[in-house]
Symmetry: C2
Subunit: 209 residues, 2 copies
């Protein structure tokens, strides 16, 4: 299986860490992100959204979206389980994972897309008020996470799941690229990130690529 | 099981249609949305995101997020299958569903949150440029959907799935509340919506509540 990826990019990194947790070997193909390869017809035929990661199967079927790819990998490599064992656990992981994606991810995304790095690429006309709102919402979500992580070890409960992978990749990206590192005073959030940072899957796939 | 809901609200409607497809009876509790009930401590204890829907189980465990609730229901009522049978089908449904959520849903949400109705509630300071971008991105996504639906009957392939439920609820909401009805010239999109509109689950749960 081929994975279209880019070193350090947050969404491919989610799949790389997920696969590493399960010891799945993927054939990594790094796209020419700066050259705009993912917005060109050949790549859009693989994923009409023009985004990475994309998993290409032996028969050329392409699966886009990090979570869709991760679910596919989990079906063939069920251990260690990262999406939930029982119906209730699966639902609770999905809930926490979606809160991270729909609230934290979108806030960081708004701050990034309307920030100076993307503006310098000339892709999009930045909206400063949107960047500020994204920044504020991300910081507010960090505080919520810090409160929640006071009473549990991981994002979705008492064990490591796909929700921890997504949260780690987004928060690391926010710190490295969006000037949105969590405040040092959020000690529960920091302790969680330190815990995640000890995993071999995360050490092997750093944000810097 | 109790479902905290509100008549016509798009995300609770996703669960109502999903449950109707499976003939699952839920005890519906309509919250006082206009009175801000979902932002008050009693409700925030059920869902810290302060959003509906929330499913409350017999033991008072609460599951938030329409898709998490739907997955929970699917586990106990597997027929008709709406999330996928095989690993590949499950991944493809997830991919299409996520494209709808991450691209169309966020665009409609940006247009709504920064539009005149929400502004009149005084909840948020609207950003007009963000509303315009949301509007433009939603219309562009409608065109993409129209192209895709030229060669398949449903959002994720050749059968009705959870992705059709989400897309229907969002597009209906966009038309009714955000002045973002798809152009009549998008005939494949219109034919798809007409097809969905014939389902008993959708007829029984209209956007108007």
């Amino acid at each position: 299986m081929k994975l279209y990826s880019f070193p350090g990019a947050p969404n491919p990194r989610r799949v790389l860490i997920f696969a590493a947790e399960k010891n799945i070997a993927l054939d990594i193909i790094n796209v020419d992100l700066m050259g705009g390869e993912i917005k060109k017809p050949d790549f859009l035929a693989k994923n009409p959204s023009g985004k990475i990661p994309v998993l290409e199967l032996e028969d050329a079927t392409c699966i886009a979206e990090s979570v869709a790819i991760s679910r596919y990998l989990e079906a063939f490599h069920p251990e260690p389980n990262l999406f939930g064992e029982t119906a209730l656990e699966t639902a609770m992981i999905e809930m926490h994972h979606r809160h991270i994606e729909m609230e934290l991810h979108t806030a960081i995304g708004a701050a990034w897309v309307n920030g100076p790095v993307v503006a310098s690429m000339g892709i999009i006309r930045p909206i400063e008020a949107m960047r500020e709102r994204g920044d504020r919402n991300a910081r507010s979500y960090y505080e919520r996470l810090d409160r929640e992580l006071a009473s549990r070890e991981y994002i979705a409960g008492d064990r490591f799941t796909v929700a921890d992978i997504s949260a780690t990749c987004m928060i690391d990206f926010a710190g490295a690229m969006v000037n949105l590192e969590p405040d040092a005073g959020l000690t529960h959030l920091k302790a969680w990130r330190d815990r995640i940072g000890q995993r071999a899957s995360v050490i092997a796939n750093p944000i810097s690529g």
